[in-house]
């Protein structure tokens, strides 16, 4: 089926396009772009995008879809429905499922479940077997099965030698290693950022150094090995500074942050708010400023959500016992647009971080609206004012600290492979 999207404002950073154009989609691919009114409808379904932006489909390179093993939190079906609702056409799912995605049978299961999903799913395999940090997982098998990167996300690879070997070995496939930077001896039993708020609340703190020492270690290992390193969920000023320095020395490193690390501080934990409990933890105003600066100057390449669904039964109760993490797929675009409205970066730059850069880093062949590319597109209404209502989420879980927030701008249509 063909779709003609008329009168929209196209932003396609990969092709330096930033103008009003019509787009014709046929057979799941982008067929042509042309001046408004120049493309024939020829029986296509016509969408009027007057006043809207048409951008390459958003790509979230860091989500937890929970299937297999934790289907009560999320499934591939519900997680991708949430992705689509939030404007994401592709998601990369972390391997900390049960069983862990450390072999091709799990990867194949995920991809099979994803065939009927609302968004494209790209699995990320484990670095080590069972993500236990003891032996490398079969990286070649994971690569062949369709994993686009490897990570033991949720846990660090604490053994520096194991991380070194993983980075060396990854060069066979030029496979990206995504590092969850946390020294677990320093974070110990911490549940929030170590600072005045943790002191007042009497909660165990996770110092910023727990992240920073691992960022430093992994940058050194990337230099040593030549492996491609991606730092997940950057939350500290120190990590931003070290990544900026490493990039200036041409170390092969990229980095992501998540909306909560630029939208919230540790103050959100007050009242023992378990919806503000995540790992790495929410930090200070200085860290938020550094993360924004890192986004602005290109130190941080990607905005990812670390979408981490948990049932409300788990998230309520004693703060110490609640699991880390929040859902993010249905709020990420709105929160990123807030930075555009604040003047941190342009909409074009936002689209780079939400689509172009993750596609390049993961070599997905997406993130562009070139003729012949997959018809993955997001239509954004930049002027619609809306209120986050977690009860309306497509995700199976509602664990968000942003419920009730007023945001401006959201995805109104998401087209995945030519399908609305």
């Amino acid at each position: 089926m063909n779709i003609l999207i008329k009168n929209g404002h196209i932003i396609d950073p990969a092709n330096k396009v930033d103008e009003r154009l019509d787009v014709l989609v046929s057979d799941g691919k982008i067929s042509r772009l042309g001046k408004p009114g120049s493309l024939p409808a020829n029986g296509s379904q016509v969408i009027d995008a007057e006043g809207k932006f048409i951008v390459p489909g958003l790509i979230d390179m860091h989500v937890h879809l929970r299937e297999p093993g934790y289907e009560y939190k999320e499934t591939i079906a519900t997680g991708t429905a949430a992705a689509k609702a939030g404007g994401f056409t592709s998601v990369c799912c972390m391997p900390n499922t049960n069983p862990v995605n450390d072999n091709s049978s799990v990867t194949e299961f995920i991809l099979a479940q994803a065939r009927s999903a609302s968004a494209q799913v790209f699995p990320i395999g484990a670095v080590t077997k069972g993500s236990r940090g003891e032996e490398l997982a079969d990286m070649g098998e994971l690569y062949a099965a369709g994993c686009v990167a490897i990570s033991d996300d949720g846990k660090p690879v604490m053994n520096a030698s194991m991380m070194r070997r993983a980075m060396e070995y990854s060069r066979i496939f030029d496979m990206l290693i995504i590092s969850h930077c946390e020294d677990s001896a320093l974070s110990f039993k911490g549940v929030m950022n170590d600072g005045i708020v943790s002191t007042e609340l009497g909660l165990r703190g996770i110092p910023r150094a727990a992240e920073d020492v691992m960022t430093a270690r992994d940058i050194s290992l990337a230099e040593l090995t030549g492996g491609r390193l991606h730092i997940a969920h950057v939350s500290t000023a120190g990590s931003v500074r070290m990544i900026r320095d490493a990039k200036s020395r041409d170390v092969k490193i990229t980095a992501e942050t998540c909306p909560h690390y630029f939208a919230l501080t540790e103050e959100a934990v007050r009242g023992y708010n378990t919806l503000a409990k995540m790992n790495p933890p929410l930090r200070t105003v200085d860290d938020v400023a550094a993360v924004k600066q890192g986004l602005k100057d290109g130190t941080i390449d990607v905005i990812a959500t670390d979408h981490a669904p948990h049932a409300m039964d788990e998230k309520s109760g004693e703060f110490d016992y609640a699991p880390f993490g929040i859902v993010g797929l249905e709020t990420a675009l709105g929160l990123t647009l807030k930075l555009v409205q604040e003047g941190v970066f342009s909409l074009t730059e936002a689209i780079r971080k939400l689509s172009v850069n993750p596609a390049l880093i993961l070599k997905l062949g997406k993130g562009t609206l070139s003729a012949g590319a997959d018809a993955d597109m997001t239509m954004i209404d930049p002027n619609v004012d809306w209120t986050v209502d977690a009860s309306q989420f497509k995700s199976k879980s509602q664990n968000t600290p942003f419920d009730g927030w007023n945001l401006r701008g959201k995805a109104v249509w998401t087209i995945v492979g030519g399908k609305i």
């Binding site: 005045i196 943790s198 002191t199 609340l201 009497g202 039964d313 109760g317 004693e318 110490d320 016992y321």
Partner: protein
């Protein structure tokens, strides 16, 4: 005058007038425990539940006696295993108790914030009997009561709290309470036991105990948790006692009238020498006053005002 909240969760945010009201009310209840018949009918027909998720003898007994001396029916629920292990959530447990109709639930829990969590979800009054490293408000109130009783005032006094401030709910509640009442608070301990930002709670920090106790009106010693050695918080008991133990020489550096306190249980020869401990009758006065202060808190939370006490 009455208390502004249905609960007592912490000293933080309490006004000086509220603290004074509790202390004044406790003074009138203290007599009850001195009588031959140690009971008043004030809370007759009220039900008080001690819900303790952490082992405690002193505090639980103190609350139990306080309730009984006010003629309330007091039930103790002690569970050594956490709610998670038991398989029932904290809230479900508390709601079941509340369904049997109770007026006051006294909660001790190893997780900071657990009493606050319950207080917003229950109709009963919740009294925090110690939560994690957060607060232990009745301990701070009984400490303030004892200081005021012995030294006649709180305003202008210098109180030094020595020990593991980072892991102490007693220290936090006392910093809030004493500074609200106009005292100066110094905290002293190794840097491994001083939490970040404690100055912003109103306390001065000193790592040298000899300096910290100079001119002190009150020295409040905290119990050393010996298992903290394994986490690297201190090298060993011998060195700890040398650097942060209270002995006669250090007592002599304070004011002549200095008052030594300890919330118990004491590690004799570690944070406090036996010589000092045995010359410090106040430590048992703290225990006696604890009952009176807890009677006052239960009475006031049940809607009583000072005039009726």
């Amino acid at each position: 005058m009455a208390l502004s909240s249905k609960d007592l969760l912490g000293i933080k945010g309490m006004a000086a007038d509220e603290i004074r009201l509790i202390l004044d009310t406790a003074a009138t209840f203290k007599d009850v425990s001195e009588r031959d018949i140690k009971k008043v009918p004030t809370l007759r027909g009220k039900t008080v539940i001690n819900l303790f998720y952490e082992a405690s003898t002193r505090t639980r007994t103190s609350f139990e006696l306080a309730g009984k001396r006010l003629s309330a029916d007091v039930i103790n629920i002690s569970t050594s295993t956490s709610s998670v292990v038991k398989g029932e959530t904290l809230l479900d447990t508390a709601r079941n108790i509340e369904a049997m109709k109770c007026d006051i639930i006294i909660v001790r829990h190893s997780c900071s914030g657990a009493p606050e969590y319950l207080s917003t979800r229950l109709k009963s009054s919740v009294i925090n009997a110690g939560d994690g490293f957060h607060e232990h408000p009745t301990q701070a109130l009984l400490d303030a009561f004892t200081i005021r009783e012995k030294l006649g005032r709180l305003e202008g006094l210098t109180v030094v709290i020595v020990g593991d401030i980072a892991h102490s709910r007693v220290a936090r509640s006392n910093i809030y309470g004493l500074t609200t009442m106009g005292a100066k608070v110094r905290v002293c301990g190794p840097p491994t036991m001083i939490p970040p930002g404690i100055e912003r709670m109103g306390a001065q920090v000193n790592y040298n105990m000899d300096e910290a106790v100079e001119g002190a009106d009150v020295i409040m010693m905290l119990r050393l948790q010996l298992e903290r050695q394994a986490a690297g918080l201190f090298p060993g008991v011998r060195e700890y006692a040398r650097l942060y133990g209270l002995n006669q020489a250090r007592v002599a550096r304070a004011t002549r009238h200095v008052m030594v306190m300890h919330p118990g249980p004491m590690n004799r020869g570690v944070e406090i020498s036996s010589e000092v401990a045995d010359n410090t009758p106040v430590i048992l006065d703290q225990v006696t006053n604890g009952v009176a202060v807890r009677m006052a808190v239960m009475f006031l939370l049940s809607g009583g005002s000072k005039a009726e006490a």
